[in-house]
Amino acid sequence: MQTVSSLIPSLAYAELFPNGIDHYAIGGLLIGLGVAVIYLGTGIIAGASTFLETSLSYVSDVPRFQKGKYVASRDWRVVFTVGMVGGAAIYQAIFHGEIWTTDVQWWRLLGGGLLVGIGTRIGKGCTSGHGVCGVGSASFTSIVNVATFMTIAIGTAQLMQAIGVGVSP
């Protein structure tokens, strides 16, 4: 009896989390810690997607990108993003020692990225801005945004799978 009762949850666990949960949870805590360090030192709540338009302010005259708050934050957002690239590179060097590349097709990255770029700017944030910082702020707006993009993304990914566009052909 004891084996049966202990077997069922572990089976469910293995099905839901085939790769375990440790690295997911630890990685998530570190992502939160990165935001917290910046916040405690500066009061700034750092999301990742505003980097897109603040960087465009270096090269575009479109008034939209020349707004004061974008110009004022563009330098530190470059540093923040360089840090993100560097942090992941350090992880990869320590734990793997060789580069990793995706099997997701280039047209999916390009087309999906285009929609992500449009959607985060219309929707006032992304996975880190709304999903981590906004949800962490118990913001109604962010919770609704996350519920929306989660639902739509699940539907989209399942549809892609259903019509036979796998991760790698």
Binding site: G20, H23, Y24, I26, G27, G28, L30, I31, G32, G41, T42, A48, T50, F51, E53, L56, R64, A72, D75, V79, F80, V82, G83, G87, A88, A89, I90, Y91, Q92, I99, W106, R108, L109, G111, L114, L115, V116, G117, I118, T120, R121, I122, G123, K124, C126, T127, S128, H130, V132, G136, S139, V144, N145, V146, T148, I152, G155, T156, A157, Q158
Partner: protein, 160 residues
């Protein structure tokens, strides 16, 4: 403690930039460690093959939530800027739904979002440059559209 900048808001001294860099390094390391920097892992989550991503976003939100909750109850100001500690609260309107929906389609097609895409580049994943290029083009197009719409419609709340 009072490294408060006296001049322009974008000149905050070397300590400010150093802290931003350290925060970014931890953030990016976490994105690597959590595997979220791999689009495959995100797509596995969205296809219900591995729910581990819930722990990435949940774990991160618990840390930020705790930090924000504690800091906003303190009367102090951030040492490097003098900023007041606030929560991230954006106004709600239909753009939140429209933008979230478009973002959701993009995330579901590609498995990438901005932070994870930058970190993916750090893994050596040069192919992610397709995705990052797409994001810049998308943000630029949205900026152009908003500029055009701004003349005729009500001013919309800006994204951040």
């Amino acid at each position: 403690m009072s490294e408060k900048s006296s001049g322009k808001s974008n000149e905050r001294g070397p300590l400010f930039m150093l802290l931003i860099l350290v925060g970014g390094l931890i953030f990016g390391f976490g994105l690597g460690f959590s595997q979220m920097a791999k689009p495959e892992v995100v797509l596995d989550f969205l296809q219900f093959e591995d729910f581990g991503l819930l722990f990435v976003m949940g774990g991160a939100a618990v840390v930020t939530g705790t930090t924000f909750a504690v800091a906003t109850r303190l009367s102090g100001r951030a040492p490097l800027t003098g900023n007041v500690y606030t929560r991230r609260l954006k106004s709600f309107d239909k753009n939140v739904l429209v933008g979230g929906g478009i973002f959701g389609v993009g995330w579901g097609v590609s498995g990438i979002c901005p932070g994870a895409a930058y970190a993916s580049l750090g893994l050596g994943n040069y192919l992610i440059l397709f995705g990052i290029s797409g994001m810049f083009v998308g943000a630029y197009l949205q900026g152009l559209w908003r500029k055009r719409g701004a003349d005729t419609t009500n001013p919309t709340t800006s994204a951040d």
